[in-house]
């Protein structure tokens, strides 16, 4: 993989895990998910008791990590969960850690 791509991938991974680190951001993803993948800004604001500026800040972090996108429909902002990106990014990172078949646990450090 060229160095520039490795760096992009590294930045994406960092953005992903930073985004997933906060419980409210994971909750926003869950709520979007259970609501079919998209909600208006008003619906999200009504769902979360905390102040709206806090929520928009968290939504921005999720956008920066490419986990959520926002679309303007007239005067409304619709937030959409990018499920496939979530699977792709977590899957890519997890693929660095192959699982050994059961019973083949090597003990290398002696």
């Amino acid at each position: 993989m060229p160095r520039s791509e490795r760096e992009t991938s590294g930045r994406q991974t960092a953005a992903l895990f930073s985004a997933l680190a906060h419980p409210l951001r994971r909750e926003i993803l869950m709520v979007l998910n259970f609501r079919g993948g998209s909600m208006s800004a008003g619906e999200i604001a009504a769902r979360f008791a905390c102040r709206w500026p806090t929520t928009t800040r968290h939504l921005r972090v999720l956008q920066q990590a490419s986990l959520v996108r926002v679309e303007k429909r007239g005067r409304r902002r619709i937030y959409q969960l990018k499920v496939s990106v979530l699977h792709q990014l977590l899957g890519q990172w997890l693929s660095w850690f192959p699982q050994k078949p059961k019973g083949s646990q090597a003990k290398r450090a002696t």
Copy 2:
């Protein structure tokens, strides 16, 4: 799922994503992984340029999240990566987000 189990699962998820949030902790997991899954405390200390107390603090966070276990062998401490737990916990969380088949992206928020 009984409430107590949901809470345990919630705590595990929180510990997991807190552990994965720090780049050095992800690097420790990667290095353990590429070294066959286990390294002695001395090998880890030699590998990481930062001070040893910082590294042990990060290792403790990884242990608390059940991603790493430590075993005493005589006077040595061997750290072992728990790959299956990593896959299990991330997989469990990710399973809340089913991927839609291509072309069936519903637009629910109107």
